[in-house]
C-alpha cells in the first residue's frame, strides 16, 4: 500500500493525540485518592492505644510506650471497632468511586474500567476479615490490630492506576506503596523505636504516623492529580482534533 511517510506520520500523531485525550477524559482517580485519604485520617481515634499493666506482670514504667518487650504491657484497643469501621469505609469509598466514574462517563461519554479495582479491594478486605488477628512473618499483624487496610488501599489504587494508564497516577501510587510499607513496619509493636526512629510518637498515639502520613499524602496527591488533570485537559479541549 503506497502511503506517503508524511501521511503516515500525520495519522500516527493524530491517533496518539486521540488516545491521550481519551485517556485524560476518563480519568478520575483523584477523588478515589482523596476519599481513601479522608477514610484513613478519620480512622485515627480508633488507633489510640490504651496501655495497661496486667497485675500479674511487672511493669517497669508508668505511661510506657507500647513496648517491644513482650509480656509487660497489654494493648486494649478496639479491634472489632476498627474492622467494622474499615468494612463500612471501604464499601462507602467503593460505592462513591463507582458512582463517580458513572457520572464521569455520563459527562464525557467514555467509560473506563473500575470494577477490577473494586473487586480486588473487596476480596482483600474479605481476606483480612477472615484472617483477623493473624500474624504474618516480619511481625505484621493483619486484621483487627494492624494497619492492613493501608495495604488494601495500596493494592486497590495500583489496580486503578494500571487501568487508568496514567504514568503520573502510577508514580504517586508507587509513593503511597512506600508509605504503606513503612506503616506496616511501624506497627503496634513500634518496631522502628528499636532503631530509634520512633520519634515523639510513643504511648497512646504511637500509631499516629502510621495513619497521618499516608492519609495526608493521599489527600495531597489527589488534589495534585486534580489540578494537573485540569491543566492537561484545557489545551486539549481548546486545540480540538480535525478529521477529513
Amino acid at each position: 500500500m503506497g502511503e506517503s511517510p508524511r501521511a503516515a506520520r500525520e495519522a500516527l500523531v493524530e491517533s496518539r493525540r486521540l488516545r491521550f485525550g481519551t485517556r485524560a477524559d476518563r480519568r478520575g482517580a483523584w477523588l478515589v485518592l482523596v476519599l481513601f485519604g479522608i477514610a484513613t485520617l478519620v480512622a485515627l481515634p480508633l488507633y489510640r492505644i490504651r496501655v495497661s499493666c496486667l497485675p500479674s506482670l511487672r511493669c517497669t514504667s508508668q505511661a510506657g510506650p507500647p513496648a517491644a518487650v513482650a509480656g509487660i504491657y497489654v494493648f486494649t484497643t478496639s479491634g472489632v471497632l476498627r474492622l467494622c469501621y474499615w468494612s463500612v469505609a471501604f464499601i462507602i469509598v467503593f460505592s462513591i468511586t463507582f458512582a463517580h466514574y458513572r457520572r464521569l462517563n455520563a459527562m464525557t461519554g467514555v467509560r473506563g474500567k473500575t470494577r477490577p479495582m473494586i473487586r480486588i479491594g473487596l476480596l482483600l478486605l474479605a481476606l483480612v476479615l477472615v484472617a483477623g488477628g493473624l500474624i504474618v512473618p516480619l511481625g505484621i499483624r493483619l486484621g483487627a490490630f494492624g494497619t492492613a487496610p493501608l495495604l488494601i488501599i495500596a493494592v486497590s489504587l495500583a489496580v486503578l492506576a494500571v487501568y487508568e494508564r496514567s504514568a503520573g497516577t502510577v508514580g504517586l501510587v508507587g509513593g503511597y506503596w512506600i508509605l504503606a510499607a513503612f506503616s506496616l513496619f511501624y506497627n503496634d509493636a513500634n518496631e522502628l523505636r528499636r532503631v530509634h526512629l520512633g520519634g515523639p510518637f510513643t504511648g497512646s498515639w504511637s500509631l499516629l504516623p502510621n495513619l497521618v502520613v499516608p492519609g495526608t499524602y493521599l489527600i495531597l496527591t489527589g488534589l495534585l492529580l486534580l489540578s494537573s488533570h485540569r491543566r492537561f485537559l484545557r489545551p486539549m479541549r481548546q486545540s480540538g482534533v480535525s478529521h477529513d
Partner: protein
Amino acid sequence: MTDAAAELDEIVHQRSRLGILAVAYEVESVDFSYLQRNLQLTPGNLNGHLTALESVGLIRVSKSFRGRRPLTSISITSAGRKAFRAEIARLKAIIARADAADVARSSDRPVSRATLRDPPLRTT
C-alpha cells in the same frame, strides 16, 4: 496477504476509522456523541464508518437508553485491538523506512565546503 486480511487492512487504513479504533482502544466503551465530537464527523458519516467496522467484527455497537435519551455505545473487540496495533506498527514501519532512506541519501550526498564550515542545525 489473504483477501480477508487485505480487506481488513483497507478498512482500518481509513483515517476516521483509525481514529474510532484509537479512541475505543483506550476505554471499555465510548458513546457515539463522544466520537462525533472528537472526530468532527457528521452523524451519518460516523454511522457509515461504524457499520463498516462492525461488519468485519472490529467493534461492537450496542444501543440502550440513558433516561429517555437513546444511547449508542461502541466497544472494541479483540480483533479490533489486534487490527489497530497492526496498523500502528505499519505506520511506524513506513516512517522508519522513510527515515532510513533519508539518512542513506544524506550520507551519499557530497559534502560542500560551506557545509563543512557551517554544519546545518538538526531539527527533528
